[in-house]
Amino acid sequence: MARNRTFILYWLALVGFVLLPQLISVKYYIHLCVLALIWVIAAQGQNLIQGYTGYVSIVQAGFMGIGAYSTALMGMHFDLPVWLTIILAPFVTAFFALLTGYPSLRVKGHYFAIVTLAFNMVIFIVLMNFHDLTQGEAGITGIPKPGGKDALFNWRDRETYYYFVLIIAALMTGLAALIVRSRIGQILVAIRQNEDLVGAVGIAAWKYKLFAFVTSAMFAGLAGAIYAHYQSFINPEIFGIAQSLDAILAVIIGGSGTIAGPIIGAFFVVFLPEYLRFADSFRLILYGLVLVLATIFMPRGIAGIARDLMEKRRGRT
């Protein structure tokens, strides 16, 4: 019964997202919605490692960068079609995630966070300084949109891209839900709750942690690739540590360890800075304050609070 009700809620949300561009008249807001949907993909990945497994990874934006640059560079140098490079980008990201995940998951808790953060710094430094490949700070321009000249849809149109990203975001959310509901997902939650116990019953926790980390990186790589083709321009600036913190914030604000959380959180981190524009340089302070207060007073996020309210009402009737 409860499961049916959540299911209906998800379908309603999906219908809402499909209708959204028809309700919004300002083009800029559609642009923000596309960005938010891209963030939904990255945040769902972040949620797998942070929300379910309980390991804070601070490299999500860095992985988005690897995805974005790999799709752009593969298209430029190997002349591959856009759809293929978008599909390949998450696998390139996964390779790098495996390389860093294996040693860094040997350390527990906070230390994993620090190693991933250091890795994000490394990604940023390489993107900035490896001029021959990444063109440094200037970035890469003219990344082609999906679909050739005689494509079925007009990909230059924001609305078309909105629906494209919506489909992918919905699919990835579905995939995240499948992973979470599977045996693997249950083990991930068990690791979060008591890692020693997981080891004690004979499960090799590190394999599952590595799986969660690499999968979360693939989500980010895909998000980055889609971003690159949407903006047609990328530079290292948006793949730094600050953006990785945004991914963490999205999961916390939305509700970590829930499927709805990252969706709410992603829209939050894209739209909140827009509304905080008036605050200008105070933005960073306010943003930090929101993060601190949210963690202290609503550690279960918006989705968690909503669920509590729903259960309270059900209890009353």
Partner: protein
């Protein structure tokens, strides 16, 4: 050979700064289990403050450092009371996220108060010593000496004094410490005060040796944690060895390979240590 020695001396100076940052982090982690990520930004706040006192108010350097230390002490205590204490019994992940939020706030405050131009704390130590072809700027020598002094003082404090014993007791076993009459409410405040003071010293060193700018603090705290990973958690000798290894590696990498990629090389060293000695160079297996 002279060239190598020169880089090693440079490495020891920056390594000393890393050790000071790492000492602050490791004591906080030992007592509260918190990765105090805002430590770097708070340290830079101290550095900025010293710069401000010296350049705008014309206060002599040593007095300026002293005032910055006191402000840093208060700030450290406030951070513990207002931000970390409320999440003390929650999941460790929450404390870490609070730390990230604090980092943003302190970085934002630094930006708001001191702008985004990089600043250098002016000193009158401009002599350069030359020993057998190796040049040591006077300032660099003082930084190394001051760092050594602070490390020694910290070691004596933790090993020999009553409060130091209490800190070690809480780190070892919190419940037993309570039973022995240790006040576990004030110990975290003491720890935060000391670690922030060490951080402010490191901030002043960075500000006079190199420069303070937005983002430097975050970079520094990552280095501090890297030192802990290298050296082994919760050991002062580990922090010293780890800090010197990281500093010297970086200096050698910058001198002989590429200065743009020195952080990348430091990261590779950290990852390789993790692969072969997950407990750190000086940690117990």
């Amino acid at each position: 050979m002279v060239e190598v020695l020169q880089q090693i001396i440079n490495g020891i100076a920056i390594g000393g700064v890393y050790v000071l940052i790492a000492l602050g982090l490791t004591t906080v982690f030992g007592i509260l289990g918190i990765a105090h990520f805002a430590h770097g930004s708070v340290s830079m706040f101290g550095g900025y403050l010293t710069f401000f006192f010296v350049t705008s108010w014309g206060i002599p350097l040593l007095l300026a450092i002293l005032i910055a230390l006191l402000v840093g002490l208060v700030l450290g205590v406030l951070i513990e009371l207002l931000a970390y204490r409320p999440v003390r019994d929650a999941n460790h992940i929450n404390a870490f996220i609070v730390a990230l939020g604090l980092t943003m706030m302190v970085e934002g405050i630094n930006l708001e108060l001191f702008g985004h131009e990089q600043v250098v704390i002016p000193t009158d130590f401009s002599r350069v010593f030359n020993i057998g072809g190796v040049t040591i700027p006077e300032l660099r020598l003082y930084v190394i000496l001051a760092a050594a002094l602070l490390i020694a003082a910290m070691t004596v404090f933790v090993e020999r004094t009553k409060t130091g014993q209490a800190i070690r007791a809480v780190a070892e076993n919190r419940d037993a410490a309570i039973l022995m009459g240790v006040n576990v409410k004030t110990i975290p405040l003491v720890v935060f005060a000391i670690s922030t003071a060490l951080g402010v010293c490191a901030g002043v060193m960075v500000g006079s040796l190199f420069a303070i700018a937005p983002g430097i603090g975050e970079g520094l705290v990552v280095k501090g944690f890297a030192v802990l990973i290298l050296g082994g958690l919760g050991s002062i000798p580990g922090a010293v060895v780890g800090g010197l290894v990281l500093g010297i590696t970086e200096a050698l990498a910058a001198g002989f390979i590429s200065s743009a990629y020195k952080d990348v090389i430091a990261f590779v060293v950290m990852i390789s240590v993790l692969l072969f000695r997950p407990q750190g160079l000086m940690g117990k297996a």
